[in-house]
């Protein structure tokens, strides 16, 4: 059971990376962030050695991961405002600029 959940967490991480780097637009990337955060949270939950520590650690990392998601949303929004549309990350901004 634990091992299965751990693998699920790993799959979440992998999917997150694929979505974050592979998606064409901001919506896909944010989903990727969500998958990453969930996967990491699962791993933390299952890996914590004892229950009392697990609860607080999960709470703490959950909070920070949620914070990261919010900041990611802020970035996407601000970028959309500046670029006047969906932000594309494909090529290096240096080479485009």
């Amino acid at each position: 059971m634990t091992r299965a959940l751990l693998i699920l967490g790993g799959v979440g991480l992998l999917l997150g990376v694929i979505a974050l780097f592979g998606a064409p637009g901001s919506r896909g990337r944010l989903r990727g962030v969500l998958a990453l955060a969930t996967g990491a949270l699962l791993v933390v939950l299952l890996a914590a050695p004892d229950r009392a520590q697990a609860a607080l650690t999960v709470a703490l990392s959950g909070a920070t991961l949620a914070g990261l998601y919010v900041v990611a949303q802020l970035f996407e929004r601000a970028a959309a405002r500046k670029t006047g549309g969906d932000l594309r990350l494909d090529s290096d901004p240096l080479r485009r600029a």
């Binding site: 992998l14 990376v17 694929i18 780097f21 592979g22 090529s91």
Partner: protein
């Protein structure tokens, strides 16, 4: 506090160089004579000022000064101060001189104060390279040629020296001079290291065969620079030998014999070659070669028997002191003579030259008599019952001849007024140097170097008499023969062997010129090939750009994250498999 006393002798010349560069002219040129004064102070105050630890400096240079070092430092300072007085007029004429002068001074003092091989080597190199500027100062054809030969041999010597030092340091527990010298004694490469050190420093000391640059370079420089080159800087080779050879650690009979023979040969051949010269400064340069032979001999004596080493080392330092001051007196006098108008000035200078010549020949009660007496003490201690002392006395006969020749050449020189508009430099500093010549060598060593027993009156009065009289008799006979029969000295070009070398180089150049057309054709083919390769690389550049474009793409980034993660997992899992 002692840091100031120890660093000023090295750094003051550099500071003066900055000042005189910014404000050239008579108002600052007196600083040339002031720059070596801290070195003299340190030499005299020596033990009162303990050597500072400079651990806060990069590479932690170490400084030290033993009694032998103090004698040599005193000599160096005195010669540089007096020469500095006479360098002023030269310095005011053409730029660049002052800077080379002061840099050489800093290097010369630095190598005497240094106690680790890094600092020593750095100072040695600085001195050698900076002195090139002094040699070529007049920019004449001869000076340039002398400079070329000087530079080639100087750099070759430094390369050999560096190889020797690196080999020696490899076995040493630290970089201090004593540690390195100790390591040489026990090194598996002992003979190789000793050979490298002998050649590396031998070039500077003008050992016969390696001396060819010296009769060219020393006279090519302005006379004040000749004085410091022959009086002070030439001793750097001796200092290197005394500090880095395994003297006093174990007897090295083979090397000792070689050095003794080489020293005597240098003393004799130097005189013989000098006698064929016409220019007074060249005669003086050959005399320096010959005199360095005696110091080489003493290094050989020190290597012969460890128990005699302290006496031999002290005697070598004293001989350096005696020769350095006397040679500086001679070079300055020879430099001042052409512009000495008045009869009494001329007479004073000629008398001074005669006195210095007598001192070099070891006339009774002169500084030479004392130096030679101590030299014989060392020889008797280390090599008793050999004929080395006799040979040394015979070489002294040669010195007498050479000095007589010098006086005759100078007397025959037509006195001329100095160039218009230039004040003739005063004789005050030179006279001080003459006094120093007469007093320093008899008085200083017993104070600083107690290993030297005060010679009895026979050793300084009676013994030196016969080589001198014999020399004078031969000189008189030759002079008589010249006048009556018209025999003349054969004239050899200055730099003797260099001429052979230069002819050989010219020959090789001619052969190369014959080979040139096919070579240039091949060369241009290669050049085209290289250019083609560069162009191809330029095209590849676009390839590199494209690769970097690819690497900075967002999706590639993701793929690389996965790739690195997988690589790390494999790397960490590998030991488990």
């Amino acid at each position: 506090m002692s840091v100031v006393w120890w660093l000023t002798p090295i750094l003051l010349p550099l500071a003066v160089a900055v000042v005189t560069t910014l404000r050239p002219g008579p108002r600052t040129s007196w600083l040339l004579a002031a720059a070596p004064v801290p070195a003299l102070v340190l030499a005299l105050a020596g033990p009162l000022l303990p050597a500072p630890a400079l651990s806060w400096l990069l590479l932690e240079p170490r400084l030290a000064l033993d009694p032998v070092g103090r004698v040599l430092l005193a000599l160096t300072a005195v010669v540089w101060i007096v020469a500095g007085v006479y360098a002023r007029t030269e310095a005011e004429q053409r730029g660049g001189y002052v800077e080379w002068w002061l840099l050489s001074l800093s290097g010369n003092v630095g190598l005497l104060l240094s106690d680790d091989i890094l600092t020593f080597y750095t100072a040695f190199v600085v001195m050698t390279l900076a002195a090139y500027g002094l040699v070529v100062h007049s920019r004449t054809v001869e000076a340039r040629r002398a400079g070329r030969v000087y530079l080639v041999l100087g750099v070759a010597g430094e390369t050999v020296l560096l190889a020797g030092l690196l080999l020696a340091a490899a076995d040493a527990p630290g970089l201090r001079m004593a540690e390195v010298a100790g390591a040489v004694a026990g090194s598996a490469n002992r003979d190789l290291v000793v050979a490298l050190l002998l050649i590396g420093f031998g070039i500077k000391a003008g050992v016969i065969g390696l001396h060819v640059w010296l009769p060219l370079a020393h006279p090519a420089a302005p006379f004040a620079a000749s004085a410091v080159l022959s009086g002070a800087m030439i001793k750097a080779g001796l200092v290197g030998w005394l500090r880095l050879l395994p003297i006093g650690a174990l007897p090295l009979p083979g090397w000792s014999d070689l050095l003794v023979v080489l020293g005597l040969a240098t003393a004799v051949v130097g005189v013989a070659l000098g006698l064929t010269q016409r220019a007074p400064k060249v005669v003086l340069a050959y005399s320096s070669v010959s005199q360095m032979g005696f110091m080489t001999l003493l290094v050989g004596v020190a290597l012969a028997a460890p128990e005699a080493a302290p006496v031999a080392v002290a005697a070598a330092a004293v001989y350096a002191l005696h020769h350095g001051v006397a040679k500086a007196v001679l070079f300055v006098a020879v430099g001042l003579l052409p512009s000495a108008g008045g009869t009494w000035r001329r007479t004073a200078l000629l008398v001074g030259v005669a006195a210095a010549g007598l001192a070099l020949a070891g006339a009774p009660l002169s500084s030479g008599a004392y130096a030679k007496a101590w030299m014989k003490q060392a020889i008797d201690l280390a090599l008793p019952g050999t004929s080395v002392t006799t040979f040394a006395s015979l070489a002294a006969v040669g010195t007498t001849l050479l000095m007589a020749r010098l006086l005759l050449l100078l007397r025959a020189q037509r006195p001329g007024a100095g160039p218009a508009g230039r004040p003739t430099p005063g004789l005050g500093a030179w006279l001080t140097l003459v006094v120093a010549m007469a007093t320093l060598t008899p008085l200083l060593p017993p104070v600083l170097l107690p290993v030297l027993a005060t010679p009895d009156s026979g050793a300084v009065v009676a013994e030196p008499l016969w080589p001198l009289l014999l020399g004078l008799a031969i000189a008189g006979a030759v002079a008589l023969a010249q006048r009556r029969v018209g025999v003349t000295m054969p004239a050899l070009p200055a730099g003797d062997l260099v001429v052979v070398g230069e002819r050989a180089v010219a020959g090789v150049a001619r052969v190369l010129a014959l080979l040139a057309p096919p070579l240039t054709a091949a060369l241009s083919r290669w050049t085209r090939a290289v250019q083609g390769a560069a162009l191809a690389l330029g095209r590849r550049d676009e390839g590199l750009d494209r690769l970097e474009d690819l690497l900075t793409r967002w999706r590639t980034g993701g793929a690389m994250v996965a790739l690195v993660a997988v690589a790390l997992v494999i790397a960490l899992a590998m030991p488990l498999l």
